[in-house]
Amino acid sequence: MKLKRRDFLKASGSGLLMAAAGPATALARSEKKALAPKAVGILYDSTLCIGCQACMVGCKTANKMPLETDDQFRRWDNPKDLSASTLNIIKRYAEGTGTAKDQEQNGFAFVKRQCMHCIDPSCVSACPVSALRKDGQTGVVSYNKDACIGCRYCQIACPFNVPKFQWASTSPEIVKCQLCDHLLKDGKIPGCCSACPTGASLFGPVEELIVEAKRRLRLEAGTYADFPLNTIAAGSPARTSSRQVGRYVEHIYGENEVGGTQVLLLAGVPFPKLGLPELPDEGFVRLADGIQYAIYKGMAYPLVLLGALVYMIRKGENGTDKDKE
């Protein structure tokens, strides 16, 4: 009888261990997510960007964010990186003499950093209280401070280090770009895109942004071409600007990274140089999610284990109390 009981435990225990070891197989990965039906995003083209930072001003104005400055008279905004006061930033890459635009050696380039609005966001999966949510229609990843408990797991999970925390506050919030969700509702476009004078930041439906990005990659460097300004969303005024085509790196950053993002980038300098990490096409969330799912699917394994434990403990109690066995 004793042996039998132990075997039962071993069997149920090993089931759980096998589930835990599941990642070794492809089965433990859950399926890739699809783009939201009315997904909107931003195409940032580093070769069109002149580094004027109008988008940063537009962002701060649209979101009523405080200035970040080391100037004692608080005359200008001068953030070093994304922070609890800065949702959008233009950063500069420079190498060697730093003279030629969009050139890896002896050149410089600009890059816009903000929330990427992933198709399968790690932060949304990580958040225990659904404070971070992905809109089912627009795909915008938004934040709800009334749900947030401030655990900061979203910061650990985000592969782009985007969510920021108000460390100095006694009622801290997570801060990140929400694609000016409050403006989209009124048919307006994000503050950064309406401020951009060159078309470097372009708002629109993600699928059309990808078509536009692919068109630019086909253009011949040095020739002149028309580039849309501000937005390519349906119903918006079609404004364009004729500009010289830059030399692109043959890659649309965000098309496939971690399952795809709704903010896409084109550049003349390799993306890792601009601080955008090289990422696999499959998001890290898929593996973690897959393992959790394998173990906790319908709570079957935990319930079987609980049943086995109750059985064993009851048996043990009877054994010692009544000496039945």
Binding site: I149, F165, S171, I313
Partner: protein
């Protein structure tokens, strides 16, 4: 079977006052944290959003509090009644360890007044590993208090309540084994989400299994450690024969852990990374050297009979296993873009304060409540 009884004696001893002082300093900084915000006391930043409050107090702390889990597993699920005298002291450390890990979380999270959102169904995110861990740890704290309740009920002689509780205690005990199995493995799954930010020396799909195994190993080690330490500190007879058996179980768990741990890094081709001389790699080597030392010590059955060597092995396991978990959460985590983290003094004092409270509580409880089994003292009826 030996009956546990209160040790009695003076409460305000030297060590008690020492830990009380540490607790008060920690308390001062905790008040400061709530008055001025986390940034005022901690060095945590947007690159390292989790510091020692999570890595030490929760991730290592709850592993050190797994004595109650492992002893319940051995005694009740495997029906080995020889471990029974170890259950109560182990439960007591688990009770304090988990409850204070929970308290630590409340210090750590930014919007603690909304913590109850986790249990509101319209907020719950069933996909979140954090959700499962938080819920499991919360539930397990409750389970531990109920599991420990008989000790208090015996003391206050609430016989009726005790009989009633004992009738249903098997469900609680079963939950007391299930819940740690769930959340201790999930503490591993949690860091999978960090992706490339976690060094490949730690990042693997086996994280949940490795975390479950370290929970068991550290749980066993802490019981050996605590039993031998209490016997010296409180002048009780050593429980060596049962600790020898425990040493054997620990050895097999540790062997399994080490094989998976090293082979996993090796098969993924990252073993050379361990020898590149960087700080992170050296921490990997240190962690495994400590665990390997314990493995060597416990490998010889003769060693498992010696209280001294058992104590040494347990110490290596506590530090090695603790370091494995700490490294997974802090050392191996590199968000890039130049972020640095080293805990500030106030941050450390808050952790020390919490640990001190744990020790103070344990000291008080073993003296006032029937926790430890003193075999040489004449049998005193407690019922």
């Amino acid at each position: 079977m030996e009956t546990p009884k209160p040790l009695g004696g003076r409460i305000l001893t030297g060590p008690f006052l020492f830990f009380l002082t540490l607790f008060l300093i920690g308390g001062y900084f905790t008040v400061k944290r709530f008055m001025l915000g986390i940034g005022a006391v901690s060095n945590m930043n947007d690159g390292y959003p989790w510091g020692i409050w999570i890595a030490l107090d929760v991730v290592v702390g709850t592993a050190l509090a797994c004595g109650g889990y492992t002893m319940a597993l051995m005694t009740y699920a495997c029906n080995r009644m020889e471990y029974h005298p170890l259950v109560r002291p182990a439960l007591l450390t688990s009770l304090f360890g988990y409850t204070l890990a929970g308290a630590s979380v409340m210090v750590d999270i930014g919007r603690y007044w909304q913590a109850y959102n986790i249990i509101l169904p319209w907020h719950s995110n069933l996909h979140s590993v954090m959700f499962e861990v938080a819920l499991c740890i919360g539930a397990y704290c409750l389970v531990l208090w109920i599991e420990f309740a008989p000790t208090v009920l015996e003391k206050v002689k609430a016989d009726q309540l005790l009989t009633k509780l004992n009738r249903y205690l098997f469900v609680i005990i079963a939950l007391g084994i299930l819940l740690p199995t769930m959340h201790q493995s999930s503490l591993g799954t949690m860091m999978l989400m960090a992706g490339y930010k976690l060094s490949p020396l730690w990042r693997t799909g086996f994280l949940p299994l490795l975390f479950l195994l370290t929970a068991l190993i550290i749980g066993f080690a802490v019981v050996i450690y605590e039993s031998l330490y209490s016997s010296v500190a409180f002048g009780l007879p050593k429980e060596t024969p049962v600790l020898t058996k425990l040493g054997t179980v620990t050895f097999w768990c540790l062997l399994l852990f080490m094989v998976i741990r090293i082979e996993d890094v090796n098969l993924r081709g990252y073993l050379p990374l361990a020898f590149d001389g960087s700080f992170v790699s050296n921490m990997f080597l240190l962690e495994n050297a400590l665990l390997a030392s314990a493995l060597l010590l416990l490998m010889y059955p003769g060693n498992r009979k010696s209280p001294k060597l058992l104590f040494l092995a347990a110490t290596c396991l506590l530090f090695g296993g603790g370091l494995y978990r700490f490294n997974t959460y802090i050392t191996g985590f590199e968000p890039g873009t130049g972020w640095q983290y080293f805990p500030s003094a106030p941050e450390l004092f808050i952790t020390l304060g919490i640990v001190s409270l744990e020790i103070l509580g344990y000291m008080w409880c073993v003296k006032k409540l029937p926790v430890l089994s003193a075999r040489q003292t004449p049998h005193v009826s407690n019922s």
